[in-house]
Point group: C2
């Protein structure tokens, strides 16, 4: 799982057109202010343990949200973060689990942009040192996560 977390003044999207792997029953457009935007790319290796990787990802998103003091989370599928993607079905399974686990304790408002659609979007990044963080989360080995905070 490749994860890019952006502390955002604003994130909004509008689904414009289906790709061949579009999920159905989506929220076509939405927005959040003062949010943590979590761009996610589910990778082939994650298929070995979708539940575990999704849990670690959700835990990382929630930990970051708490550190930043934000209560709004936008989960946003972003294939361009990886060159070795999972199947679309596994990606939707993972994204849905992440969404559910972020929402589970009721402390956060959680939205999820649809998978498999061409989307227009507008994103504002705050620009402080912790406003852009990336992570690589791998299956197995309890909690192994490569974190990167450097911003060039």
């Amino acid at each position: 799982m490749r994860l890019l977390l952006i502390h955002s003044d604003n994130i909004e999207y509008k689904a414009q057109k289906k790709t061949p792997v579009a999920e159905e029953n989506i929220i076509k457009e939405d927005e959040m202010q003062e949010a943590l935007t979590a761009f996610c790319a589910v990778e082939k290796m994650d298929e070995d343990d979708i539940a575990g990787v999704s849990s670690k990802t959700a835990a990382d998103i929630l930990e970051t949200a708490k550190q930043l003091g934000v209560t709004n989370i936008m989960i946003y599928p972003y294939a361009h973060l990886s060159s070795d993607l999972s199947s679309p079905a596994k990606a939707v399974e993972a994204l849905s689990k992440i969404e559910d686990e972020c929402r589970i304790n009721g402390e956060f408002t959680v939205k999820r942009a649809p998978f498999g659609w061409y989307k227009s979007f507008t994103l504002s990044c705050k620009g402080h040192p912790l406003s852009e963080l990336s992570r690589t989360i791998t299956p197995g080995e309890e909690g192994k996560t490569e974190k990167k905070t450097v911003e060039h």
Copy 2:
């Protein structure tokens, strides 16, 4: 070289704070409308042939700009696209070469966001099928480029 090309209604940035590898003599804030935003991560392997990789990258940016019919190009360093980055000095060398080569024939207005600064930014992506493209460009082997147009 990892490259993420976004056909943007708008891209604007403001340098907020230096990192330890900040370049000097920068344009602290700028913006463009109707632009191709080229997020670039210069990778360790690119150090073998900075000139060659930079030329291939510039050629790819220009080809995409022509296809999209845009004349504005914003080159934007984006470390989070790779987990195996070049040295900061080589990154600035590559980004400067890309900037120069994109500008060379006078057909395009080219700007470059500074390397090594925490930056706030706002980006709008148009959302049509060719509005988000990613590339991996490697040194050697004449013109070898892995292209990805899928958008999830």
